[in-house]
């Protein structure tokens, strides 16, 4: 055992001394390799943390949202619907919600307007999300006017800002009194955007959704589990875009690594001949090269992954922002709560370490089975 260990240390010493001979080239390779792991790991960690945050936070959203559809489009809930639902057993509470979108041509951004009861937001005043406040340079006490779709100008006083801790959910929110909402959007009285339902027994949710569809055939119930499922899959799309962009970099690296690792130069071939002539077994040569591949790729993985973790969770994923932001004008500032998926880490480790070791080993195998007497014949 001691001999085995000492021998491995010898082989590592030798392979490090070999790598040190082309120091700048090998350090450059390690840097590019680590950068690639960094980019992949950043995207993976970011998306995973966002997904887990969504599933935590949205677990407290309404059990069922009822939407009405007309000709495939979301339409207003007409008067009388709320009363009809009241008769369905198991529904604890139903509430008509009022919300909609507003396009602010000044900054070319979309806001979400949401009506709140008058006791929460006084008429004539609004509460806004922190991102919006930052974008428009607003503070509590300021006044802002929005031109309604009808052409009329409405002026509101900012009563408060929503907690910056919750910016991830409230970046573009404008909360206003119900009367203001109806006036601003010219919303017909008695109509609602949709209906939020509370269901006491979670096992009943599917039954109730079935009853709702029967009672109100033109409506579509959206269950909380569907909302959560949306977020489990939704981020994959943007992650996919990011990975597509990265694919070019990945292939460039594969070519580089292959050229470096697989293209065995005449000099290296000669060195292997010398090592074999002076008493190294083929197995020793292969083990030595395996150590080289393992050390380089493990180092790249560790550097890249640790840097990605710090980047995503302690530096706000600032490098990913432009891509994930897409084309929206508003982008919330938020810190993600660290979440690591073991399977994700393991597969990243496997796909960084294994191919590189293979790329190192394949040509060495060919060289290592050459006869040791070649050094004398040359």
């Amino acid at each position: 055992m001691r001999i085995w260990l000492e021998k491995q240390l010898h082989l590592i010493d030798f392979t490090l001394a070999s790598l040190a001979r082309r120091k700048s080239k090998n350090i450059g390779l390690l840097a590019v390799y680590a950068l690639l792991v960094f980019a992949l790991a950043s995207v993976g960690l970011f998306a995973n943390a966002l997904r887990s945050e969504a599933s935590f936070v949205l677990a407290s959203s309404p059990e069922v949202i009822l939407q009405r559809l007309v000709a495939g489009r979301h339409d207003l809930i007409p008067p009388g619907y709320l009363e009809k639902i009241g008769r369905i057993r198991g529904v604890q509470k139903q509430e008509g919600r009022l919300w909609g979108y507003y396009y602010d041509a000044v900054v070319k951004a979309n806001y979400t307007f949401m009506a709140r009861p008058a006791e929460e937001i006084a008429p004539g005043s609004i509460a806004i999300g922190a991102t919006l406040a930052r974008l428009r340079g607003l503070a509590p006490g300021n006044v802002i006017s929005f031109r309604a779709y009808g052409g009329k100008l409405f002026t509101f006083r900012i009563a408060s800002l929503l907690s910056p801790d919750a910016e991830l959910l409230s970046a573009d929110l404008v909360l206003l009194a119900e009367a203001d909402f109806r006036a601003f959007f010219d919303y017909p009285a008695g109509h609602y955007t949709d209906i939020a339902l509370s269901v006491a027994n979670p096992q009943e949710v599917r039954n109730i959704a079935g009853k709702l569809s029967q009672a109100l055939p033109d409506s579509r119930p959206i269950l909380r589990e569907e909302v959560l499922r949306t977020y489990q899959s939704m981020f994959d799309w943007r992650e996919g875009i990011m990975l597509t962009i990265l694919a070019g970099a990945i292939f460039a690296f594969i070519i580089l690594a292959w050229e470096k690792a697989a293209g065995l130069s005449a000099e290296e071939r000669k060195e292997i001949g010398i090592l074999k002539a002076i008493g190294w077994e083929t197995g020793d040569v292969i083990r030595m090269k395996l150590w080289e591949g393992l050390l380089v790729s493990l180092a790249a993985f560790l550097i890249g992954f640790i840097a990605a973790y710090i980047h995503v969770f302690y530096c706000g994923a600032s490098l990913l922002e432009p891509v994930l932001k897409g084309w929206s004008v508003l982008y919330p500032r938020f810190t993600l709560i660290p979440a690591v998926d073991g399977m994700q880490v393991a597969s990243l480790a496997f796909f960084t370490i294994f191919p590189y070791c293979a790329a190192v080993l394949v040509p060495i195998w060919r060289a290592a089975i050459t006869d040791p007497d070649s050094v004398m014949r040359a």
């Binding site: 010898h10 490090l16 936070v57 801790d165």
Partner: protein, 111 residues
């Protein structure tokens, strides 16, 4: 005596692995600040009945993906690209993308 290069590199890698373990611990034990942040988000979601993260605001179906109807992708943010290849060929009407920003802060009435 100088530390042997193999031992040096192996201990650095060991350190890296230990750091990886620490990150793991870090990820499985959220800080108080993080917990507070998460509970603030949960409370807001509960109070307002929010169903979506406000991450992408360029279109209805990206702002509220869980609430989007099946045809939502057809009705985008005026200046946004969309899912479909045609979006790359057909720009939105000019009147929608025209900027009014030059008026910002220059009018006497609040903007």
């Amino acid at each position: 005596m100088k530390l042997r290069s193999s031992l040096l590199v192996l201990s650095l890698l060991g350190l890296g692995l230990a750091l990886l373990g620490l990150l793991w611990l870090d990820a499985s034990h959220p800080t108080d600040a993080a917990r507070q942040q998460r509970s603030a988000r949960q409370k807001l979601a509960e109070r307002l009945g929010l169903t979506d993260l406000s991450l992408f605001m360029e279109a209805r179906y990206t702002r509220h993906p869980s609430q989007a109807d099946l045809h939502a992708a057809l009705q985008d943010h005026p200046a946004a690209f969309e899912h479909f290849p045609s979006g790359a060929l057909l720009p939105p009407p000019a009147v929608l993308t025209e900027s009014h920003a030059y008026l910002a802060g220059k009018t006497t009435s609040p903007d």
